[in-house]
C-alpha cells in the first residue's frame, strides 16, 4: 500500500512536467525562428496479461512517452517528434522542426486554433481504480473468462488467447496561440478468443470489452461464455448461393460499416470532392431511422475528451439527422480551407500531425429488439464477423468478406462463411429499414443491430 502511494506520488511529479515540456518546446521553437508552434506530449502506462489453457502465457508492463512539435514559419509547416525529453533533446527537436518547414510549401491556411476555439468540454472518465489495478486481478479475470469459455461446449477446447489489460494516458498541449491544457484517460479491457473444432473445421471467435471505468467492465465469465458460444455456432459453416437478400449487421459489424463510412464525411476528402457524399450536404442520403452523431462529449464514451488534438474544445456534431446529411467533420486547417469551422475532430498522437478523425461516432438507437429484427426477416444473412476493409468512400462502393448465420422465415439457421456482401454505399444507406435498441458503447464507433433490406451476397 505504501509502495503504491509512493509510486503514485512519483507519477504525479513526472506528470506535472508534461505540460512544462510542451511549454519549453514552444519557447525553444520561437527561439529557433518559428512564427507559431504547438507541442503535444503524452505519457502512457500499459500493462497486460495473457493466459492460455490454464497457464500464464504473457505479462507485459511498460511506461512510454513522447512529444511532437508542429511549427509554422511564414506559413510553412514542419513537424518533428521524439522521446528524448532532455534539454538538449528538446532543443534539437525544435531546430529540426523549424529547419524542415523550409522545404514545405507556403500555405495561407496553415494556422493554429486560437481564442474561443480553445477550451475544455466535459472530461472523459478517469478511474483511479484502473490506476491502482492489482496485477493479480487481471490474471484472475483472464483465467475466469477462459474457464467459463471451456464449459460452454465440448467442441470448444482450444484458445488463441485470453487476456486482460489496462492503459493510462496523460496528454498535454501548449501553443504560441494560447493553448495550454492537460487531460487524462483510463481504460481497462478483457478479451477471450476460443477456437471451436468439429469434423475437421476450425472456427474462431472473439469477444471483448473495453471501458473507461473498471466497474463497468463486463464480467469475465460472461465474456468467456459469449466468446465460446460465438465460436461454436459457426461450426458447419458453408457458402450460400449468390443472391440478393436482407443483411443484418450485428452491433459490432454495424459499427464496422459506420467506421468505413466515416471517411466519406471527412472534411478533407469532401473539400477535394473525393467523397461520394461531397455534394449531398442537406440532402436525404439515408432512411429516417438513421441519425448519426460524432460526439466527443458523450457520457461513458471511450473517445470522450475535453479537447481535440489541437486543443479545440470538444463538441457534438450531428452528421446525419433522420436520414439527412447535416455536417462534415473538420480540423482547423481543413476548416479554414473549406470556409467551415473546426468541429474539434483533430485526431493525433505525439508522432503524427493532427488529421481529421472521428471521436465517439455513434448511430442512434432504434426501438426494436435485435430478436424482433431477425423474426421480421424472411430471408437474410446475419453478419457476425467480417474480413477486409470494405468501404471505398471515394467511389462509393462496398464489398467485404462476411461470416455469419442464415435466416429463413424469421429463424436463425446454419452458419455461413466464404461469401462477400456488396453494394453501393448510398443504396445501402437508403435501404436501412430497421435499427435495433441494443446500442452499447463498447467501442468509440458504436451502433445497434442494423438491417439493410437488400444487398448482393456472392457465394457459390
Amino acid at each position: 500500500m505504501e509502495a503504491q502511494v509512493a509510486s503514485r506520488k512519483a507519477r504525479k511529479e513526472q506528470d506535472a512536467g508534461l505540460l512544462g515540456i510542451c511549454e519549453q518546446l514552444v519557447a525553444l521553437a520561437k527561439k529557433a525562428g518559428a512564427s507559431d508552434s504547438e507541442a503535444y506530449a503524452e505519457r502512457t502506462r500499459e500493462s497486460s496479461v495473457k493466459v492460455r489453457e490454464g497457464n500464464v502465457e504473457e505479462l507485459q508492463q511498460a511506461t512510454s512517452k513522447g512529444v511532437g512539435l508542429r511549427v509554422f514559419t511564414a506559413g510553412r509547416l514542419g513537424f518533428a517528434y521524439g522521446t528524448d525529453f532532455s534539454r538538449e533533446g528538446l532543443r534539437q527537436l525544435a531546430q529540426s522542426a523549424v529547419s524542415l518547414a523550409k522545404g514545405a510549401a507556403k500555405d495561407q491556411f496553415n494556422e493554429l486554433p486560437r481564442g474561443s476555439q480553445l477550451g475544455r468540454g466535459p472530461e472523459g472518465a478517469f478511474d483511479p481504480a484502473i490506476e491502482d489495478i492489482d496485477p493479480a486481478w487481471k490474471l484472475r479475470a483472464a483465467h475466469a473468462a477462459e474457464q467459463a469459455a471451456a464449459q460452454v461446449d465440448r467442441r470448444v477446447r482450444k484458445f488463441d488467447g485470453t487476456g486482460a489489460g489496462d492503459f493510462l494516458a496523460r496528454s498535454a498541449i501548449a501553443s504560441s496561440r494560447g493553448a495550454s491544457a492537460e487531460s487524462r484517460a483510463s481504460y481497462a479491457y478483457l478479451y477471450c478468443s476460443p477456437v471451436a473444432e468439429a469434423d475437421g473445421q476450425l472456427q474462431t471467435a472473439s469477444w471483448s470489452d473495453t471501458r473507461r471505468r473498471l466497474a463497468e467492465l463486463q464480467a469475465p465469465e460472461e465474456i468467456g461464455r459469449i466468446a465460446a458460444q460465438r465460436a461454436a455456432r459457426m461450426l458447419g459453416a458453408r457458402k450460400v448461393k449468390t443472391q440478393k437478400a436482407a443483411i443484418i449487421f450485428e452491433p459490432q459489424q454495424a459499427a464496422g460499416f459506420l467506421a468505413g463510412l466515416s471517411g466519406a464525411v471527412n472534411g478533407d476528402l469532401v473539400y477535394k470532392k473525393s467523397s461520394f457524399l461531397a455534394k449531398l450536404l442537406g440532402k436525404r442520403i439515408a432512411t429516417e431511422q438513421v441519425t448519426l452523431v460524432d460526439d466527443a462529449t458523450l457520457e461513458g464514451g471511450l473517445a470522450t475528451r475535453p479537447f481535440d488534438g489541437e486543443g479545440v474544445v470538444s463538441q457534438r456534431t450531428v452528421v446525419i439527422d433522420r436520414g439527412v446529411l447535416r455536417n462534415f467533420l473538420y480540423d482547423t486547417y481543413t476548416a479554414r480551407k473549406a470556409g467551415a469551422r473546426s468541429t474539434g475532430n483533430a485526431a493525433r498522437g505525439w508522432s503524427s500531425l493532427p488529421h481529421i478523425g472521428t471521436s465517439n461516432f455513434v448511430l442512434d438507437r432504434g426501438t426494436v429488439s435485435p430478436e424482433e429484427i431477425v423474426r421480421q426477416t424472411q430471408r437474410g444473412f446475419l453478419v457476425t464477423a467480417m474480413l477486409g476493409s470494405g468501404a471505398n468512400v471515394v467511389t462509393g462502393e462496398y464489398s467485404r468478406g462476411a461470416n455469419g448465420l442464415w435466416i429463413e422465415d424469421g429463424q436463425i439457421g446454419h452458419a455461413v462463411q466464404e461469401v462477400t456482401v456488396s453494394g453501393s454505399l448510398l443504396d445501402m444507406l437508403q435501404a436501412i429499414d430497421a435499427v435495433g435498441n441494443d446500442l452499447d458503447l463498447r467501442s468509440s464507433t458504436a451502433a445497434p443491430t442494423m438491417r439493410i433490406a437488400e444487398a448482393v451476397i456472392s457465394g457459390s
Partner: protein
C-alpha cells in the same frame, strides 16, 4: 574544390554499452527465467507529403528504446523503456523477470557477435539524405500524374524512410547488430469521369535500398502508373458476382499467398492448434503447380532481414513444394517449445513489442507458361491487374483480397474494366484450384505492410501470372 574525403568510420560503439546489456540480461534472469533477451532500437523516420500540388509537410522523428524479454517454459515476461539511464533499464529488466518466481544468480553471460550476411547494401543511411531530395521525389511524381491525363484531378504523394539500428543480445550468448534502412514512395490519384464518377489509382515502391533506387524506379513512372490505373477504370461496369475463373497479373498479387497460406503457417498458430494447417506437414495442400517460398534473403527486399528481431539470420524457406506442405515459420519461442529450430522469422514492430513469427518476402516459384498462353486459354473470366489489401481468418482459412483494377476476359481477350471486385476463398481450396502458373515471376515493387496482433512489419510478396478456377468473386453485377 575537391571534397574532403571522409575517413572510414571506426568500428561503431554498440547502441548500448555491452556491460550494461549483460547486467540487464542478469537482472531479467534473476527470478529463475530460462532465457532472457535485450533488444535495443534506435530509429529515425523521415516523411514528406504532398497534397493538392503542394508539399504539405516534412517531418522527422527519432525514437530510441529497449525491450527486455524473460522466458520460462511457455511464459513470457516483457517490458520496455524509452528512458535509457541505467536505473530505468534495470527496473525494466526486473519487471520482465517477474514472469518467473524464485531466485537465480545467472553468472556472467559471454556475448559473442554473430557474423551476418548482407542482403541490403544501403551505403548511405537514408536518414542522412537531405530532405530536399525526398521532397523532389514527391514533386516529380505529382507532376507526372497530373500530366498523364486531364481527368486526374486529385493527387497525393508521400515518401517515407526509416533508418533503424538494432542490437539483440540473449543469454545463449548471441549478440547481433544490424542497420535496417527502408523507404517507400507512394502516389494515389482520383480521376473524375462523367456523371460524377470517381476512380482511384495507387502505385509506389521502395525497399531496403539506396536512395539511388529512385533513379531507375523513377517518381515520374510511379505517378504515371497511379494515374493510368485511375483513368483506365473510368466507365467500369459492376464486377460479376459468384464463382469464376480468374487470372492474376504478376507482382502484388502475391498477397494471395500471404493471406491464403502464409499466416496459417506461422508457428504460434501451429503450436496452439488454431490454424487449419496443423498436422498437415507432408500432405498435399495445393495444386502441383504451387511452390511457395518465404525468403528473407531477397536483395533489397522490403521484407528482407540480415538478422531477425531475435538475432537469428534471415533465411529462405520452402513452405510448399509442388503442392506438398514442407514447413512452418518459426520464431525462437515457438521453435523451442516444439523442438524445432528458428527459421529467422521472429519479428516485431519496435522495442515496444514482443517478437512473434512473421513472414518476410513470400512468393510463388515460376511455372513454364507464358502469360499470353494463360490468358488465351480462358473463355470467360476475370483478369485482376492491381490489388488492394487482404485479410485472413487462420482458423477456417477464409481469406479475402481486394482487386483495384480488373477486366473481363472474353474468349481469351481482356475486354471491359469492372469495379468493386474482391476475391474470397478458403486457403487450401483456392490453391488446389491453381491451374496455370506463368514464367513471369515478379515481386511487388515494395509496398506491403502486414498487420498481426496490432503489430505492423514491412513485407514483400510475389507471384507470376496465375490462373485459378472456381474462385468466388464478390461484386454486384450479374
Amino acid at each position: 574544390m575537391p571534397k574532403a574525403v571522409r575517413k572510414p568510420a571506426a568500428a561503431r560503439a554498440p547502441l548500448l554499452a555491452l556491460p550494461l546489456v549483460e547486467k540487464l540480461l542478469s537482472a531479467a534472469m534473476s527470478r529463475g527465467a530460462e532465457f532472457a533477451e535485450v533488444y535495443v532500437e534506435r530509429s529515425t523516420t523521415t516523411a514528406v507529403s504532398l497534397d493538392e500540388a503542394k508539399v504539405r509537410s516534412a517531418q522527422v522523428g527519432a525514437v530510441t528504446g529497449v525491450g527486455v524479454r524473460a522466458i520460462r517454459g511457455a511464459q513470457v515476461g516483457y517490458a520496455y523503456s524509452d528512458d535509457l539511464d541505467e536505473t530505468a533499464l534495470l527496473r525494466t529488466a526486473q519487471t520482465a523477470a517477474l514472469i518467473a518466481e524464485g531466485n537465480r544468480d545467472l553468472g556472467p553471460v559471454a556475448l559473442s557477435r554473430t557474423p551476418l550476411p548482407t542482403y541490403y547494401q544501403v551505403k548511405q543511411p537514408l536518414a542522412a539524405i537531405d530532405v530536399s531530395r525526398k521532397i523532389e521525389l514527391v514533386r516529380e511524381a505529382d507532376a507526372a500524374a497530373r500530366a498523364h491525363d486531364r481527368r486526374v484531378k486529385q493527387v497525393m504523394a508521400g515518401y517515407a524512410d526509416q533508418t533503424r539500428e538494432i542490437l539483440v543480445a540473449n543469454t545463449l550468448g548471441r549478440l547481433a547488430e544490424d542497420r535496417q534502412d527502408l523507404c517507400r514512395l507512394g502516389v494515389s490519384c482520383v480521376a473524375f469521369g462523367k456523371g460524377g464518377e470517381r476512380r482511384t489509382g495507387f502505385y509506389g515502391g521502395g525497399g531496403r535500398v539506396d536512395f539511388r533506387f529512385f533513379e531507375d524506379f523513377s517518381p515520374a513512372q510511379v505517378g504515371r502508373e497511379a494515374a493510368r490505373q485511375a483513368v483506365a477504370t473510368l466507365g467500369a461496369v459492376p464486377a460479376p458476382a459468384g464463382p469464376q475463373t480468374v487470372v492474376l497479373a504478376p507482382g502484388w498479387s502475391g498477397i494471395l499467398l500471404h493471406e491464403a497460406v502464409g499466416h496459417g503457417l506461422e508457428a504460434d498458430f501451429i503450436r496452439k492448434g488454431t490454424s487449419l494447417f496443423v498436422g498437415k506437414l507432408g500432405e498435399k495442400v495445393a495444386s502441383e503447380l504451387v511452390t511457395v517460398i518465404d525468403d528473407g534473403t531477397v536483395a533489397g527486399g522490403r521484407g528482407s532481414l540480415n538478422v531477425d528481431d531475435e538475432g537469428n539470420p534471415g533465411e529462405r524457406k520452402v513452405l510448399i513444394e509442388k503442392g506438398v506442405l514442407k514447413g512452418y515459420l518459426y520464431d525462437h519461442l515457438n521453435a523451442k517449445l516444439t523442438g524445432q529450430r528458428s527459421t529467422g522469422s521472429g519479428r516485431r514492430q519496435s522495442f515496444r513489442h514482443a517478437p512473434m513469427p512473421r513472414m518476410t518476402n513470400t512468393y510463388l516459384a515460376p511455372g513454364d507458361q507464358t502469360p499470353e498462353e494463360i490468358l488465351g486459354g480462358v473463355r470467360k473470366g476475370l483478369y485482376c491487374r492491381q490489388f488492394g489489401g487482404g485479410q485472413v481468418d487462420i482458423s477456417n482459412g477464409n481469406f479475402v483480397f481486394e482487386i483495384s483494377e480488373a477486366y473481363l476476359i472474353e474468349e481469351g481477350e481482356i475486354t471491359r474494366p469492372v469495379k468493386g471486385a474482391m476475391l474470397i476463398g478458403v486457403g487450401p481450396e483456392a490453391l488446389k484450384n491453381v491451374s496455370a502458373v506463368g514464367s513471369d515471376a515478379s515481386l511487388d515493387p515494395g509496398l506491403g505492410t502486414c498487420g498481426k496482433d496490432g503489430q505492423s512489419v514491412p513485407v514483400g510478396v510475389g507471384l507470376p501470372t496465375v490462373r485459378i478456377d472456381d474462385v468466388t468473386v464478390g461484386g454486384t453485377g450479374a
